[in-house]
């Protein structure tokens, strides 16, 4: 097949585009203690509740939920961190105070299962941040009480936060103060309850339709 116009023919020339690691180098390796120290010196010693790095997965920094938007803005703009990318906002419903240690309440495990970390009776809202410049990931956690789950919005700092926060509200019932449109996103607007809570009771029917289980 001859091309209509030789000028229009686009042959793919594999131009080596250097990835960011090549341009800037590997940058500063950020371990959580450095980040926690910087946050403490910026926002006071109470701003960092704890640093979890004992388990096998990623290290987390639990921060003061009342300062979350300042902390996110600081991590985005400070030249030591420059976390331009908000990867995800996730949420975890931690066990209640009076619930046994086992997670799903199955009763199949007789041995005391190790429970999930974090204060009981709280919801953990997890922010994963990434810096293109320094190439480090910082994962923040804010624990909000289940009795009044409220948190300041990050939608003014990261546009990505807008829908992620709506999803957290939809699934877990955490209200983000100052959010432009705090409405349900995946479920219908008249749905009752927040399904990803562990104590969620499945409805029998919705608008007269039977809910299949």
């Amino acid at each position: 097949m001859s091309s209509q116009n030789p000028e229009i023919r686009l042959t793919y020339l594999p131009e080596p585009v250097p990835s960011i690691s090549k341009i800037i180098g590997t940058g500063l390796p950020k371990d959580v203690d450095t980040v926690a120290q910087a946050l403490k010196s910026q926002f006071g010693p109470t701003s960092v509740a704890e640093v979890e790095k004992s388990h096998k997965g990623d290290p987390f920094i639990a921060v003061d939920p009342s300062k979350i938007s300042e902390i996110l803005r600081f991590l985005r703009d400070d030249s030591k961190f420059l976390c331009a990318l908000l990867q995800v906002i996730s949420c975890v419903d931690l066990p209640n105070e009076n619930s046994p240690n086992s997670s799903a309440g199955e009763g199949t495990e007789s041995a005391p299962a190790p429970s999930v970390k974090g204060p009981k009776g709280h919801i953990a809202v997890v922010y994963a941040l990434w810096s293109f410049v320094h190439r480090h990931q910082i994962i923040l956690k804010a624990y909000v009480s289940k009795k009044s789950p409220r948190l300041a919005t990050a939608s003014g700092i990261y546009r990505a936060a807008n829908w992620y926060e709506r999803e957290v509200f939809d699934m877990m019932g955490v209200e983000f103060e100052g959010h432009p449109n705090m409405a349900r996103i995946l479920l219908p607007p008249d749905w009752v309850g927040h399904p990803l809570r562990k104590d969620y009771v499945f409805p029998e029917e919705y608008n007269g339709m039977k809910v299949p289980l």
Binding site: L10, P14, Q87, A113
Partner: protein, 378 residues
């Protein structure tokens, strides 16, 4: 409004609310977009999702890890292998499972094959949205070859359940390596033909170049990833920048939008990044198949894995960064699995991008973002 100024003052125009979808062929699934238009100009577009919500995250809380992998398949059903690989990597890291080299190489092979299949479907349906029927047929013809390879590999064509914690469920069948190499040899000229047919086509370029421009700062603020971010000019690829599953061993380039047509960040550049990526996928495939190490395809792993800890692990899927946030409490069942979907964020940009656009261009924008509703709604 400039449009009404040319008319006589008696001629009144008003805003019109148009519902696009949920059953609209170019929304690639069940997406509803509420468009408020003034004549041909969109004043606002509100995407409405949730029509395909299948409670993936809730379901996995009541199932064992092995049983939750088929749910991951059904999120992005066009790139099911990539979905499985990400989930298994996260589980393995928490459970301290070692994956043999051969299994890692097989994972790379199936991921790249699936990336080719997914990008082929993306560009085929994109050309169909724009009005070109032929490239669609070409793309589906070539995708069929990939699906046949998968069928021989694991018996399924779309939803595989092939990757497991510790490795893969079955070794490459005899002669499949040659078939994959044969496919690579066959595919490159075919792709060049599609490229020649579509990329420089004047109608296609007029519909897509300089349309739906996402500047780089906006793309980063929205957290776009994958071809959508690379189309905006950022050389960011998790396979290169945070290698997993042995991607550091292979030689390939990260493709970004270079504005061969239009400007960086427009629909055409996002489309063309996908074309370029397929050539790179072929390069990885050839290396991986030729260097495929001998050994086990499945590591030593308990029948019911009991991971412990918490992780956020992201992999590079055809549509961008797919991350799994897994909270494991040391039992057979996950405490919480949250999947970060790249398309979820891609749709959320529509609100801002569409205002001021022509109605006809919304299809061009939606197709260039390459969304899959199964992954958005989960």
């Amino acid at each position: 409004m400039a449009i009404t100024e040319n008319h006589s003052p008696e001629l009144r125009t008003e805003e019109l609310v148009i519902n696009m979808g949920p059953q609209h062929p170019s929304t690639h699934g069940v997406l509803r977009v509420e468009i408020i238009s003034d004549g041909e100009i969109i004043k606002a577009a509100y995407p409405d999702i949730g029509y395909l919500h299948r409670c993936f995250e809730k379901h996995t809380e009541n199932r064992e890890y092995l049983q939750s992998i088929p749910f991951a398949d059904r999120m992005d059903y066009l790139a099911a292998m990539n979905m499985e690989v990400g989930m298994c990597l996260a589980i393995e890291k928490l459970a301290d499972v070692e994956v043999p080299d051969r299994a890692q190489a097989i994972r790379v092979i199936v991921s790249e094959l699936n990336r080719i299949a997914s990008h082929l479907l993306a560009l085929g349906t994109y050309s169909l949205d724009i009005g070109g029927f032929t490239p669609f047929l070409y793309a589906f013809r070539d995708r069929e070859h990939v699906l046949r390879i998968f069928e021989e590999l694991c018996g399924a064509r779309l939803l595989y359940n092939y990757v497991r914690p510790g490795g893969v469920v079955r070794d490459l069948s005899r002669g499949l390596q040659d078939k994959i190499l044969e496919f690579c040899k066959y595919f490159v000229p075919q792709l060049e033909e599609i490229d020649e047919l579509l990329s420089g086509n004047i109608i296609f370029v007029k519909r897509t170049a300089n349309v739906g421009i996402i500047p780089l700062d906006l793309a980063v603020s929205y957290g776009l990833s994958g071809p959508n971010l690379r189309g905006s000019g950022m050389a960011w690829d998790l396979r290169k920048d945070r290698p997993y599953s042995g991607y550091e061993k292979y030689d390939f380039n990260v493709c970004v939008g270079l504005a061969e047509r239009g400007v960086v960040g427009d629909c055409w550049n996002r489309y063309y990044v996908r074309i370029k990526e397929m050539f790179e996928s072929v390069k990885i495939l050839e290396q991986a198949v030729k260097q495929l190490p001998e050994g086990d395809f499945m590591g030593k792993v308990a029948k019911a894995v009991k991971p412990e800890g918490e992780i956020y692990l992201a992999t590079e899927c055809p549509r961008g960064e797919l991350g799994y946030h897994i909270v494991a409490d040391g039992t057979k069942k996950p405490y919480r699995i949250k999947a970060k979907s790249p398309c979820f964020i891609a749709v959320s940009t529509m609100d801002e991008l569409c205002s001021g656009m022509m109605i006809g261009d919304i299809v061009a924008l939606l197709g260039s973002l390459d969304i899959v509703l199964g992954e958005i709604d989960r």
